[in-house]
């Protein structure tokens, strides 16, 4: 029996991220001496001890069923939303195609048939962009949520602690100086992300992850890496420069079928591993000693989760560029949708994909043509981050 699935705390009542830790603390105490604790929390229950216990068990079951129902419906809604956005992103563009056109093209891809006109316009031009957008969104969302979850802080998303910048700098170096492309470029960006993550986390480790230091270190290191990136860029020629700049903003416009396979493989493998690890990782939020007591091997779990998250993040960054704020936003949104007691890594991935596709649709239709998708996500994400900061600042020290 795991703690998260036996939670008696009513998730519907606890909405916000700020109460996350309080809720966890309560769950722990609930599990230690559950009956007494809850009895004292609900003065309206009267009767004998046995009746109380029965009543409590019934409430527990109801809450659990409610939680499961809620997560299932959230997952279903997100999946449907993602499908709808997928179709919409394929349909809208310079020319608008109908639902049946798109379906027949997709069917044609599986049957190996080509439909004159449509197969090129939808299948070759739009399809890779949309698929890569969705996959990168999943990767950003899962990676961001993993970081936020593991380090127990919303501000600990890879965007903010400099890991994205590390992957960036490596990728720009790879493009401009080494002339890498495709899978080798992804691998190089991956190395850059890993190196930066290791450095930032190692430098800020104070008998455990120290979030304040982590964020400050990340920002400082990102500033230096950005300087390095611009230095590499002014040595690039005009064309490389423009490609790199577009890519640095996070753009899907260069997406091609050749990129689909590598990113699919990485997202599927790392994503499934992360979800599998999530049950263990989830227990880390009760503190490492409690988690150890529950049979979690703390350090290996932490390292594995961080490693997988960095792999996802760097692979996505290498494919689409750092689409701003997706990895930051996906976690909190999924968290709000599912309630605080459910590990929401997979759903954060779905939210990320929805965010990217929705922003891509907006980006295609902004009055100024050819705006990269990253501009749209940063226009949405920036203000939200500021609002969240203000809200957090009003309740506790950030």
């Amino acid at each position: 029996m795991t703690i998260s699935s036996s939670s008696p705390a009513s998730s519907a009542q606890i909405e916000s991220a700020q109460t996350h830790q309080i809720a966890s603390a309560r769950q722990v105490s609930d599990n230690e001496n559950s009956i007494d604790e809850i009895t004292s929390l609900s003065p309206e229950t009267t009767g004998t001890r046995a009746e109380q216990e029965r009543e409590l068990r019934a409430r527990l079951r109801r809450t659990r069923r409610h939680d499961q129902l809620r997560s299932a419906s959230v997952t279903a809604a997100l999946t449907l939303g993602l499908l709808a956005l997928f179709y919409a992103d394929l349909a809208f563009g310079h020319e608008v195609y109908s639902f049946s056109d798109i379906t027949s093209v997709i069917a044609g891809i599986f049957d190996g048939e080509t439909i004159p006109g449509l197969s090129f316009a939808i299948g070759e031009l739009r399809m890779p962009r949309v698929i890569i957008g969705a996959l990168c969104g999943i990767a950003f969302g899962m990676a961001g949520a993993s970081f936020q979850h593991l380090l127990r802080n919303m501000m600990a998303s890879p965007d903010i602690i400099g890991i994205t910048t590390g992957a960036n700098t490596a990728a720009v170096f790879g493009i401009v100086v080494l002339g890498l492309s495709d899978i080798r470029l992804s691998a190089f960006a991956l190395l850059g992300g890993l190196a930066t993550a290791t450095l930032v986390i190692w430098l800020s480790w104070d008998h455990g992850p120290n979030i304040s230091k982590l964020i400050l270190m990340g920002i400082g290191l990102a500033a230096a890496l950005n300087a390095l990136t611009s230095w590499i860029l002014i040595r690039a020629d005009q064309w490389d420069m423009q490609t790199a700049q577009r890519w640095l903003t996070g753009s899907l416009s260069d997406a091609a079928w050749s990129q689909v396979m590598p990113i699919t493989a990485i997202v599927v493998v790392s994503g499934l591993l992360l979800i599998a690890l999530n049950r263990h990782a989830d227990m880390l939020r009760f503190g490492s000693s409690m988690a150890t007591g529950l049979g979690v091997r703390v350090a290996p779990t932490q390292i594995a989760v961080l490693l997988l998250a960095v792999i996802l993040l760097s692979a996505a960054t290498a494919t689409s560029g750092p689409i701003a704020f997706v990895s930051f936003l996906a976690g909190p949104i999924a968290f709000r949708l599912c309630g605080p007691n459910k590990p929401a890594i997979g759903r954060a991935g779905l939210v990320g994909a929805c965010l990217v596709l929705a922003s891509d649709i907006v980006a295609q239709h902004l009055p100024q043509a050819h705006v990269p998708v990253g501009v749209v996500t940063s226009l949405i994400g920036g203000p939200i981050l500021v609002i969240l900061m203000i809200r957090m600042a009003c309740t506790k020290e950030v």
């Binding site: 577009r246 501009v375 920036g382 900061m389 600042a393």
Partner: protein, 338 residues
């Protein structure tokens, strides 16, 4: 860094300033001597005093504006950093980390894109507006909440706003290849394009900024004691804050307009100064005025020497020197202080 007497004062002020003056003169000499062509010290003197027109003498004369600009900008950034750290009681304040450069950059790109401005003399006013607006915004966002402007919140607010602004900047630049070429050289932060006629119109702003920095230094000391104590001592808090921010914004946006974003000078130098003379801003300010130029000229010379004959822009070198110092500063701080 707290205002305690833990800092050692090993060197007498007279000796310190003598060393700094000599150091700056030597650095300025080196800055004029080194480049894609290295000239002898005697050529420097000849280039300065006579009207000789041989290659060495004219190389010297073209490098002098660059050296002067380096001195000006080094002093401006270091003192702007000291002002910001003093007024926000935030040891991590730095013009570039708080997003002022990005604000200036965004304003400049708007100006290039929509108003066809192309000379640094016109940049400066735009940059001033951009970085002042960003400073106000970062300050406003960072100081909301019970604990006021903690270092973490301010830095975070700076980083977030920078990220949004730089996204918008590239959205404006991407469809306009020509503007991008203009912008990207500005963006790196270099002093190689220095010309006296571009610097002259902006000198009054620097002068005003320097005067403010020196004049406000005693009030910064009072501010360091905490709001209540400062008020008790007769300090008008809001007035001091507004004046000090104005000085900081004047200094760093003028510097940014002339040389592009140069990071970490404003962060590192005030800390170094504090280590040497303690936490009295009346001593820190003049020291910054000397140490900033020393660091900037040194970084510029290093940038010219390592990849000769090409330059590494000074903004890159200061970032590479400054980042490890920044990391050490955070590493040494206790958890509660951050």
């Amino acid at each position: 860094m707290t205002a305690t007497k833990e800092h050692t004062r090993r060197i007498s002020p007279a000796l310190l300033y003598a060393l700094l003056v000599v150091g700056t003169i030597i650095m300025a000499m080196l800055s004029v001597m080194f480049g894609s062509r290295i000239v002898a010290p005697s050529d420097v003197v000849r280039g300065l005093t006579s009207g000789a027109s041989d290659i060495a003498a004219s190389a010297v004369r073209t490098r002098i504006p660059r050296t002067v600009l380096g001195i000006l900008i080094g002093a401006a950034l270091a003192m702007a950093g000291a002002l910001m750290q003093g007024v926000s009681r935030n040891p991590l304040a730095d013009p570039s980390l708080l997003g002022l450069n990005t604000g200036a950059a965004f304003a400049i790109v708007i100006a290039i894109t929509f108003f066809n401005l192309a000379t640094p003399a016109s940049y400066v006013w735009i940059a001033l507006v951009g970085s002042a607006a960003t400073a106000a915004l970062v300050w406003a966002v960072g100081s909301i909440g019970r604990f006021g402007a903690t270092p973490l919140k301010l830095t975070l607010a700076g980083a977030v706003l920078s990220s949004v602004l730089s996204s918008l900047t590239s959205a404006l630049l991407l469809p306009r290849a020509q503007n991008m070429a203009t912008y990207r050289f500005w963006e790196v932060g270099g002093i190689s394009g220095a010309r006296f006629n571009l610097m002259l119109p902006i000198l009054p702003l620097f002068a005003l900024g320097f005067i403010i920095a020196f004049a406000i230094a005693p009030s910064l000391n009072a501010l360091a004691l905490g709001d209540e104590m400062a008020v008790g001592l007769g300090t008008r808090l809001t007035l001091v804050r507004v004046i000090a921010w104005t000085g900081a914004v004047l200094l760093c946006s003028s510097a940014t307009a002339l040389a592009g974003p140069i990071g970490f000078v404003g962060l590192v130098i005030p800390h170094a100064a504090r280590l040497l003379v303690g936490s009295d801003y009346r001593r820190i300010m003049p020291l910054c005025a000397f140490m900033g130029p020393l660091l900037l000229l040194a970084a510029d010379v290093i940038g010219r020497v390592v990849t000769r004959p090409a330059d590494v822009e000074v903004g890159i070198v200061t970032a590479i020197i400054g980042a490890p110092i920044f990391l050490v500063l955070i590493r040494r701080r206790k958890v509660s202080e951050v």
